[in-house]
């Protein structure tokens, strides 16, 4: 009985948090809504990264490539036809002359992200440790370079704009929920458990018959699909995007969110994403002056980044396993 309750709590905790953020976003002014939508999209991105890094224990700097592919695919395909033929003239005719709806574009983003991750993962999943980190980083560099230069598939170095802003509170919340539920189902599945076993001891897992490379490839592909989907949410939240917005800074920020929350649990990924993006929003408000507990807090401009980085470093130094200790949420136990 307790075990079944544990499972419910593990999934319900993250979902309730996300729903709370989504509901809260409808009560604030439109200018503040963006902060809540940001954090919902951050949850989707960080959880998608967690599916690979958290379950496999292999470092990857490449997952934002799949976010980028999803964002640009979904964005380019939803720009209204009449404006598209005016601004995106260099596209392949197939892309230029067709436009799809919001939901199909998210599905397309997920499919392309997954496909790209599968192709990349096929050779790369043999690597461990730092070699894996640098090779996936190389994937990010190549993706960024191609997206920025190849004007037949996207806007190139210019801004992609006029994308319908369909990621409001509803789509943001639902999107984050979809990603969390898929991640949870995966980590409790046979595949997820095998991969988590290989994370603890790759040699022992291989010894009892776990195909470590295959399991990593499964997680990498799933993570790529979710990241592509999250990229679709991102572009529909922003309305316009450049290749630099889905590059190094986002990579570092989302990795920091994952590690600060606790990289080895879904709860950690969600808590980390919400905590860091919440802190970031609070600090950017504080730069304009904000009232806290009756006191007026007015940070000099430019100090937001200093505080954000310092707090991130402090959490990592004082609590290296992350805010959640890398554990799933569980109810406190009495009498034991």
């Amino acid at each position: 009985m307790t075990r079944r309750l544990d499972v419910v709590v593990q999934l319900a905790g993250p979902l309730l948090l996300v729903v709370a953020v989504g509901l809260f976003s409808t009560t604030v002014s439109p200018s503040n809504e963006v902060y809540f939508l940001n954090s919902l999209v951050s949850v989707a991105i960080v959880v998608s990264i967690y599916v690979f890094i958290g379950n496999s224990g292999v470092l990857s700097f490449g997952q934002i490539s799949f976010v980028a592919v999803g964002a640009f695919a979904s964005g380019v395909m939803t720009v209204p036809l009449e404006s598209k033929q005016g601004v995106l003239t260099t596209l392949f005719p197939l892309l230029r002359d067709h436009t799809i709806g919001n939901v199909p574009s998210l599905a397309l983003a997920a499919a392309l992200g997954g496909l790209f991750a599968f192709v990349v993962g096929l050779p790369l999943m043999r690597l461990n440790g730092l070699a894996a980190g640098i090779a996936t980083f190389a994937v990010l560099e190549i993706t960024h370079n191609v997206l920025q230069q190849w004007t037949k598939i996207g806007p190139g170095a210019t801004t992609l704009s006029l994308v319908p802003e369909s990621t409001g509170p509803l789509q943001g919340t639902l999107g984050a929920i979809v990603v969390i539920v898929v991640a949870f189902a995966y980590q409790r599945s046979r595949f997820g458990r095998q991969l988590r076993a290989s994370r603890e001891d790759a040699a022992a897992a291989a010894g009892v018959g776990v195909g470590v490379h295959l399991q990593r490839l499964v997680a990498f592909t799933l993570s790529g699909a979710l990241a592509g989907f999250a990229g679709g949410l991102l572009v529909h939240q922003l309305g316009s995007i450049t290749t630099d917005q889905v590059y190094l800074e986002l990579t570092f920020l989302t990795l920091a969110m994952l590690v600060i929350g606790g990289a080895t649990s879904l709860w950690g990924a969600v808590v980390g994403a919400l905590a860091v993006s919440g802190l970031d929003s609070f600090l950017s408000q504080a730069e304009q002056g904000v009232h806290v507990l009756g006191h007026r807090l007015d940070l000099p401009s430019g100090t937001r980044l200093v505080f954000l980085a310092a707090i991130m470093a402090l959490v990592l130094i004082l609590r290296p396993t992350g805010l959640t200790g890398g554990r799933e949420l569980r109810l406190p136990r009495w009498g034991k």
Partner: protein, 302 residues
């Protein structure tokens, strides 16, 4: 066709860049050896040195360089005490992400310091005379290229002597190959780590001095991109040993110098893709490093 375009000027510039990257690779490799920590914030040590040079550019050059070395070594030691020491024994991912945060922190602080005069960037101009060319065997070479190669060769030689001939050098090498056993045999952890961190700081200061000659405008992201490239080179070369890491750093600097000089600009738009595809290929074929010979198990047991 490509080789024909490789004149002496391009070749020597590429050598100069390779020399600077080799020094950065040594700085990163030294700290990795004793701490098993990839210091992403290494570039910000160089950046701090470059700002010191900019703020002291009306001092005599020798004093300015001295101040630069002092500031960078102090910052490097502060990093070790405040950040690396509490993180000892943590997973590589945690250590790397913490150094990201430190890197962001130092850049954010630099931005505030820099913007006090409301313009972005400070100029470090005390040594720009080194950009003047000298003629060697009928070809023009910038003085800084010769200085870079000379300083790098001298620093590497001195470092090799330090590591090979002194007791602390022996202790450092022992710690780099097996830290726990070395400690059991009486090597003092904090001393060898401080030794490596100070050396890495001195090297970062030298890199700052040489880089500001070519790029006198110092901004908060100074040396950030170079650090990323050097890190790639270090891992491709083989981070487990100092000399393979150094060779990796030199190679990636030299190769990017040659390619940038040789290829016409309209052909270089996909150059990063080609270079990183090559990086992936090398890592797939030789995951332990291009220059690291010897077999390894698929999964390390220890």
């Amino acid at each position: 066709m490509i080789l024909a375009a490789l004149d002496f000027q391009t070749f020597s510039d590429a050598l100069g860049l390779g020399a600077i990257y080799a020094l950065m690779a040594v700085g990163i490799g030294l700290v990795f050896g004793v701490l098993r920590l990839v210091n992403f914030a290494y570039g910000q040590l160089v950046m701090a040195g470059a700002y010191t040079l900019a703020f002291t550019s009306n001092w005599p050059a020798a004093w300015s360089i001295g101040a630069c070395i002092g500031v960078v070594v102090a910052l490097s030691l502060a990093m070790e005490v405040a950040v690396f020491r509490p993180l000892r024994g943590q997973s590589p991912a945690v250590m790397l992400v913490t150094t990201f945060a430190i890197s962001f922190l130092l850049q954010a602080i630099a931005l505030i310091v820099d913007l006090r005069d409301d313009t972005l960037g400070e100029v470090a101009a005390s040594l720009t005379s080194l950009n003047a060319p000298v003629t060697i065997a009928g070809a023009e070479v910038r003085k800084i290229t010769l200085v870079s190669i000379g300083v790098a060769a001298g620093a590497l030689l001195l470092l090799a002597l330090l590591l090979a001939k002194t007791t602390i050098g022996l202790h450092t090498r022992a710690a780099a190959s097996d830290f726990r056993t070395a400690r059991l045999l009486g090597v003092r952890a904090n001393r060898v780590i401080a030794f490596s961190v100070v050396l890495a700081g001195v090297l970062a200061a030298l890199v700052a001095v040489m880089m500001t000659v070519t790029l006198p405008l110092v901004t908060p992201d100074f040396a950030l991109h170079d650090t990323i490239i050097v890190l790639v080179g270090v891992v491709v070369g083989g981070i487990d040993r100092l000399w393979t890491a150094t060779l990796g750093g030199f190679t990636i600097g030299f190769v990017s110098g040659v390619l940038n000089g040789v290829l016409p600009t309209d052909k270089t738009v996909y150059l990063p893709s080609a270079v990183f595809a090559l990086v992936i290929l090398v890592l797939l074929l030789r995951p332990a490093g291009l220059f690291a010979w010897g077999r390894r198990a698929a999964f390390e047991r220890v």
